[in-house]
Amino acid sequence: MQAWRIREPVMWLTEYLTGNRKTYGMNRIGGVARDLPPDAMERILPVIDKIETQSVQVVDAILDDSSLRARLEGVGVLTTEDARAYCVIGPTARGSGLDIDARRDHPFAAYDELEFEVCVEHGGDIWARTLVRIRELLQSIKLVRQALKQTPDGAVMADFDEIKPYQVGVSSVEAPRGEVHHYVMTGPDNRPYRWRVRAPTYNNLQSIPALLRGQTIADAPISVGSLDPCFSCTERIQVVDRDSGEVRIYKQAEMLARFRQKGR
């Protein structure tokens, strides 16, 4: 819970910098939507300093906590072979000894101009994944400091002519949970024609059978949680009939009833 407390000032900061806590909406074709405000440095650096001291304090306290270690060590083990076989990515892969990171392996943005360490642990258990995340947190702080120092002045948008339709673009970016791939095909009227996202949880969730093999039920929640899965937080769906245009909304109770019926 202390980690959530430490995180909150970062959320306020992103709200101030981008206009939202999570959905930043900063990327545009040709650049970014907003420049950093003039007082950005004075506002970012103290927050960075504060989360660094506070995180180190918490990390320092929990590393020797034997009850936490007893709960996390040897639980939810994903061996290096399994990790490779299931093609897991991000901290899940790095916690199982796979040295992969899109920021270093396929540099994008300005990552080839910044110095950072790819954090790899070999335990394969929840403790190892926790350690990877802790170390990456400190690396990220280091990256932000470097980026703030090295970002040059200048325009935030490049000039470009009209966007040609039916051109394909693919990108892979290292997100907090692992590589995320976006495929886009441009369409007429400056709009995307096709767009496909492969989010990292899609890969990481495939390893659940290996993680849970031979474990007790009580270990299941923390094992699944240790992948930091990102599920859709949906409690209703809207179904549109394309032919008639009819719209039907299924609420939580109906959805539950429907899926339970299917499950029988």
């Binding site: 405000p37 929990i62 906590d65």
Partner: protein
């Protein structure tokens, strides 16, 4: 064992030092940052319903329909990602992103903005040429510029009729006021 005890003491200290950190929200309002991008607001007095916002919207939630002398501009905000492209595209600064973020609802109609504008039809052929506000804006802009239309009723024509009339009487055209 000693290590463990020390670490537990450290944990307790961190918690004590932090004290209460939760905010009284939702029992008290929690205003977002002034840069926050919330629910888009359409200022209908400024809007001339040109449709630039609809062209810019990546989620295609802004639609424009001309029917029975009325132009309807509608925003289906259920699909909105609050990117602000509509605001950036608007030549009239008629769209702003508000501070409203509590938009969760079970009634999709709550997330619909609809604005209706009267269409002006061509006085020769009856084809719609734009909304009253658009024609008014052109009139205002012409007044402010150093070009003057000799016959203001020229503005009440559609593009095709303008062409026809111009061929017949070119003298209707613009005169530069010095």
């Amino acid at each position: 064992m000693l290590k463990h005890t020390i670490s537990e003491l450290k944990e307790a200290l961190i918690c004590l030092e932090a004290g209460q950190v939760t905010l009284p929200y939702p029992f008290q309002p929690h205003p977002p940052d002034e840069n926050f991008r919330g629910k888009p607001v359409l200022h209908t007095r400024k809007c001339m319903s040109c449709g630039a916002c609809g062209n810019a919207c990546p989620a295609r939630l802004i639609s424009i329909r001309d029917e029975a002398g009325i132009r309807t501009l509608s925003f289906e905000l259920g699909r909105c990602t609050y990117c602000g492209m509509c605001r950036d595209a608007c030549p009239q600064e008629a769209i702003t992103l508000s501070q409203q973020f509590e938009l969760s609802t079970e009634t999709p109609g709550d997330l619909l903005i609809r604005a209706e504008f009267k269409l002006v039809t061509c006085r020769e052929c009856g084809h719609p040429i734009g909304t009253e506000r658009q024609v008014e804006l052109v009139r205002e802009k012409l007044k402010a510029s150093d070009m003057q239309l000799l016959d203001m009723s020229y503005l009440e024509l559609c593009i095709n009729c303008k062409r026809k009339i111009f061929i017949r009487t070119p003298a209707l055209m613009l005169e530069v006021v010095s």
